[in-house]
């Protein structure tokens, strides 16, 4: 079953930028309540979009990942970024329902 994968700065290149599948990256933080609320949403989304999109999570509180958070100018969490063939194609902040998120992703991947 497709499940969100925890990644960090060390495997970001391989898991996101070099991924064959499009990747949705969730930049989150343990203190952030909406991030906690989005967690089950992303788990269901991973199942719904199995084979179409890979979902990964980056903990911005982890010192290892702070460079990544700076590079992608994260100032709000949850921040979601959609990558296709190594390119950032869409980003949004805050909470979304599972179905509206799936719909938005499908639309951006079609472009």
């Amino acid at each position: 079953m497709n499940k969100p994968l925890d990644i960090n700065k060390d495997n970001f290149e391989k898991e996101v930028l070099q991924s064959d599948l499009p990747v949705l990256v969730d930049f989150w933080a343990p203190w952030c309540m909406p991030c906690k609320m989005m967690s089950p949403v992303l788990e269901e989304l991973a199942v719904l979009m199995d084979g179409k999109v890979k979902i990964v999570k980056v903990n911005t509180e982890d010192p290892v990942n702070q460079e990544l958070a700076l590079e992608y100018e994260i100032q709000s969490v949850p921040s979601m970024m959609l990558f296709k063939e190594g390119q950032l194609i869409w980003e949004f902040i805050g909470m979304h329902s599972r179905d509206s998120l799936a719909q938005e992703i499908e639309e951006h991947l079609k472009k």
Binding site: A29, W31, C32, M33, P34, C35, K36, M37, M38, P40, V41, E44, E61, E73, I74, Q75, S76, V77, P78, S79, E91, I93, G94, M95, S97, R98, D99, S100, Q103
Partner: protein, 306 residues
């Protein structure tokens, strides 16, 4: 299957309603877009009886567990996008095209953060403009930030930000606060927080990120205030989608309900932040109370119409 009751919304009002509905053995389901409602974002809830201090997410997890333990069918991640009525049955369609039917509905969809409504607002979301202090405060360590608002959420946001930021400007529209005195005292005694009463935000400025704001009234002889982040805490407003479809009577966008939480439409009750009840005092406890009262009324209605 036709449910006797579908509760739309999985925040304090909807889940408390479900607890009571289970106890009254009302055949019901709860449908919620995102678990928990707005209170889940709260850093600290200190006024819910039995919980001296708890974060909003944990409080809502407890209430949800309670509702589930009593046997409630809770469908989270489903958003109702359409409600129609046919032969006294409500037909609800979800975003994922599921169709559900109910004899009665309880609307408990709560509210969402009110925005500044400035044309340039969208450009700065996540780039200096934020709506959740507990989420984003850590990105403003030793920076200068502003908070706009004068109620409890603005006061607590300012205090939370003052723990990490170098300086916090609290911009209040009126000449006084509109929150609990405990928070007001903490704010006034915090030397990192500077309060600007009778003021507001006219414009957001910055190339890519927010760099400064234009104020409605000058502060220290300038109407431009340099800052790295602005947190918007100017209250909440209901989501209009279902309200409009049901053609419910409103007062300033909030659903008018009677003392039993009944709306002007037969078969439709409303509870929680979305209603005009509880004197507009939108708290977890008042939402829970309205949810309970609504179910008590729905139970009587079902008994009469057996």
């Amino acid at each position: 299957m036709i449910y006797d009751l579908i509760i739309i919304g999985a925040g304090p009002a909807g889940l408390t309603a479900s607890i009571y509905a289970s106890r009254y053995k009302i055949n019901h389901a709860v449908i919620g877009e995102i678990p928990g409602g707005l209170i889940s974002e709260a850093h600290n809830v200190c006024n819910f009886p039995g919980e001296i201090e708890i974060n909003g997410f944990d409080l809502m997890t407890k209430i949800k567990d309670h509702a589930e333990k009593l046997g409630a069918e809770i469908m989270i991640m489903e958003k109702i996008i359409k409600i129609e009525e046919k032969d006294n049955i409500f037909i609800l369609t979800t975003e994922s095209r599921k169709v559900l039917e109910a004899k009665n509905i309880l609307l408990a969809t709560g509210t969402k953060h009110r925005q500044l409504n400035l044309p340039e607002e969208k450009k700065y979301i996540g780039k200096g403009l934020a709506y959740c202090a507990t989420c984003d405060a850590m990105f403003y360590k030793n920076k200068i930030v502003g908070v706009i608002g004068g109620g409890n959420s603005a006061l607590t946001a300012a205090l939370y930000l003052a723990e990490v930021a170098e300086k916090v400007y609290l911009i209040v529209r009126d000449n006084e606060f509109n929150g609990e005195m405990v928070w007001v005292d903490h704010v006034l005694n915090n030397n990192k927080i500077e309060v600007l009463f009778n003021n507001g935000v006219k414009k957001l400025n910055g190339e890519v990120k927010l760099e400064s704001i234009d104020l409605n009234a000058p502060y220290q002889n300038s109407d431009n205030l340099q800052l790295n982040g602005l947190f918007v805490e100017i209250g909440t407003e209901p989501d209009k989608l279902l309200i409009e479809q049901l053609d419910l009577a409103l007062d300033k966008n909030y659903i008018i309900v009677d003392k039993e939480q009944k709306t002007n439409k037969s078969g439709v009750w409303a509870a929680g932040d979305i209603t005009t009840n509880s004197a507009g005092f939108r708290q977890v406890i008042t939402a829970c109370s309205e949810g309970a009262i609504a179910v008590f009324s729905i139970f009587s209605h079902l008994q009469k119409n057996k």
